[in-house]
Symmetry: C2
Subunit: 421 residues, 2 copies
């Protein structure tokens, strides 16, 4: 089994000791345990602060060298805490664990995992502690970091390479909920969701698992359990639809309502209404390495031959996108660019949507009844998303959650205490 | 050229930037520079604190994994600071730099240096920044630390492996002085000392270079310059007597007066006065891995057949030594053990002693005139050491320093400002 503990789970010596106890409990049940660990609490931010103090633009190779010391500290401490409990543990850097990446410092991709030393440690009866978030580049042998979601991805990649039966991702949340419990007090935890649903939830703003980690798990068929290191609750199993079908459990139509207020809307007005203009704008944004999420072309005002194009991007990428558009203005020939950061996205996700055509009608009906004005719509096979004002997001989430009766399972409400109605 | 910067030289972002500037100045003069760096200021102590919080007895392998993150942080920051000045720098861990050691975690010995990646970096016109104090074990490929004096030794070992012309060791002291300037205000800096003198000074309590580093430098003939990163003073060159003779500089008879108050005296009384008893006591102490420095057997009281044996050991090893002696009491058959930690050692070191037989007479004469009571004496070819009360050490050092007129070079006194008389 592979377990991954996030930064909040190992934030100080006390928490590290508690995690060590949990690992030892697991070892007592099943012999072979590999643990992937993130840097302690704020270590990464502290190191970034130091980097910014010595350099206005720290070189990526050295930033990776610096940041990887964070996991080195937490993994060594965790191994010590386990040994203090009388069990053998050995810590390994990403490089030692055989996490081979490309050379894109700061956002390297795993291209191979050769966990020979981890196998040896397990064969010797040791608990292997592996640094998350890091690897070594195949070409230059330089130390790399995997970027956001990197530690979760390390855990899933090791689980795949080692043929582990399950990969447990520990953080400070109990699992996947039908909505963010801070917004919807009666949100309910889902015992199971499919990879596809988890991907849509992650892409829609659920912070539980990073998109990349779920993609990796789906590709290699690694069952992932999301659970809290601060409780003994069983968490949420993320696995294939086929597995869920085999288990013969009745899957709910809807897995949850996600929301995201980290995006901004960019509207380009007065765009000549001819084929290829939307593509040209998208290409301009993509060339600046900014990801576009949703996009809509408004109807042209009759007779003007001009249209408006709106799209959403991460708020933090606003300056980059705006600069790229201004630079391309002579070629694109638009009127002006409006940057609106007071938007929010509300998404309904569920594999059961495919078989239930009434879902979107109920979704939009609930939003209308709550007085939410929809600005952009996008859908996938198992998801509907809308953009509205950010101030309307909580009401929209609650209205949709209620309309689909996602919080009504009273038995679950007792089990998961406090969050049921 | 190899330069080594200690923890106080890179204690914070400001100091790291100043060290970066100094390195860039060196690069402007001579093309190829390798920099060995220690962990920032108190990092190592902070990490040890953390280790003790999670484990009563942290395992040595994991302690090494933990502590090596300290240099990883300082070296990455230093590389960033250099790049911010427009020069290319690449940082390398001990393992990446080819520092191969045995498997003695916490006090590993360098058994080979294979600096292929450092050569490549230099050939590419980069400044190579290397983590001091650490290596990788030949057998297990585990990360090791070199123990005390490890960073200085790394620098000298790399200088030897790379065939560097000189190894500069930067700290917060200006070089080798004729005495500790805090005790003798008119102490004078020595422009040159031989490896042999430096070894004797290091063994006699001078904190400037670790014994081990000097031994390594002597074995491979690496010229070492000890200097301060906080000034532009030229420091002290440590090299072979042959080199000093070749340069045709007139070497002073005496290189300096060293003192050491970190030792304690153990007296074993009532030891049966027969051959092999001193050896048996020494073996008992050595088996407990405690280093004996000086030893003296007192004259037996007539008719008793018993003698007293006194020896000095590091104060910190007192409990270990006492326990070992008590355990061996039935075999050794002594009366009792007295532990005296209020002693100090004063040593006079100089290669010129060999040719000047009057030195010891003047030494003891100066001590007598200062009213210092000598308890133990030990000598080598180029050193005389005595043990006295620790309270008498400052007076003893000043008396000897004056007797040999070590502080009278007025030209030097002006150059080194403030410390001359």
């Amino acid at each position: 089994m592979v377990q991954k503990y996030g930064g909040s789970s190992v934030a100080d010596a006390e928490r590290i000791k508690r995690v060590a106890e949990r690992i030892v409990e697991t070892v007592k049940e099943s012999n072979r345990v590999v643990v992937v660990v993130s840097a302690m609490g704020d270590t990464t931010d502290d190191l970034l602060d130091l980097a910014n103090q010595v350099s206005p633009l720290p070189p990526a190779r050295e930033l990776d060298m610096l940041l990887t010391s964070g996991e080195r500290i937490s993994m060594a401490l965790l191994a010590m805490a386990i040994e203090a409990l009388g069990y053998d543990a050995r810590s390994f850097t990403g490089s030692q664990a055989g996490v081979i990446t490309d050379s894109s410092h700061g956002r390297a991709r795993i291209i191979d995992v050769t966990p020979g030393r981890i196998q040896q440690a397990l064969d010797a009866g040791h608990i292997a502690i592996v640094a998350g978030f890091q690897g070594v580049s195949q070409d230059s042998k330089d130390i790399t970091t995997l970027g956001r979601g990197g530690s979760d991805t390390t855990a899933v990649a090791l689980a795949a390479a080692l043929g582990a039966d399950v990969c447990e991702i520990y953080s400070d949340v109990d699992g996947v909920f039908t909505a963010d419990p801070r917004v919807v007090p009666n949100a309910r935890q889902q015992p199971r969701v499919s990879y596809e649903e988890m991907l849509e939830l992650a892409a829609s703003g659920a912070k539980i698992l990073h998109l990349r980690c779920v993609e990796y798990a789906r590709r290699y068929g690694v069952p992932v359990v999301v659970r809290s290191s601060f409780s003994q609750r069983p968490g949420t199993l993320v696995t294939s639809e086929a597995n869920l079908a085999e288990e013969n459990v009745e899957q709910p139509i809807i897995s949850g309502v996600a929301h995201d207020t980290s995006q901004a809307k960019v509207t380009v007005t007065g765009v000549p209404d001819r084929p290829g203009q939307a593509a040209a704008i998208c290409q301009t944004i993509a060339a600046a390495e900014v990801d576009i999420d949703m996009i809509v072309q408004n109807v042209s005002a009759p007779g003007t031959g001009l249209a408006d194009i709106s799209f959403t991007i991460p708020k933090s990428e606003g300056p980059t996108a705006m600069a790229a558009l201004e630079k391309a203005r002579p070629t694109l020939g638009f009127d002006r660019v409006v940057f609106d950061e007071h938007i929010g996205k509300v998404s309904l996700v569920g594999a059961g949507m495919r078989a239930h055509p009434g879902v979107s009608a109920s979704f939009f009906g609930a939003l209308a009844q709550a007085g939410v004005n929809v600005e952009i719509i996008s859908t996938s096979e198992i998801r509907i998303s809308v953009v509205c004002r950010d101030s309307e997001v909580p009401a929209a989430v609650r209205a949709v959650h209620d309309a689909f009766e996602l919080g009504t399972d009273e038995v679950e409400a007792v089990v998961y205490g406090g969050t049921g109605r």
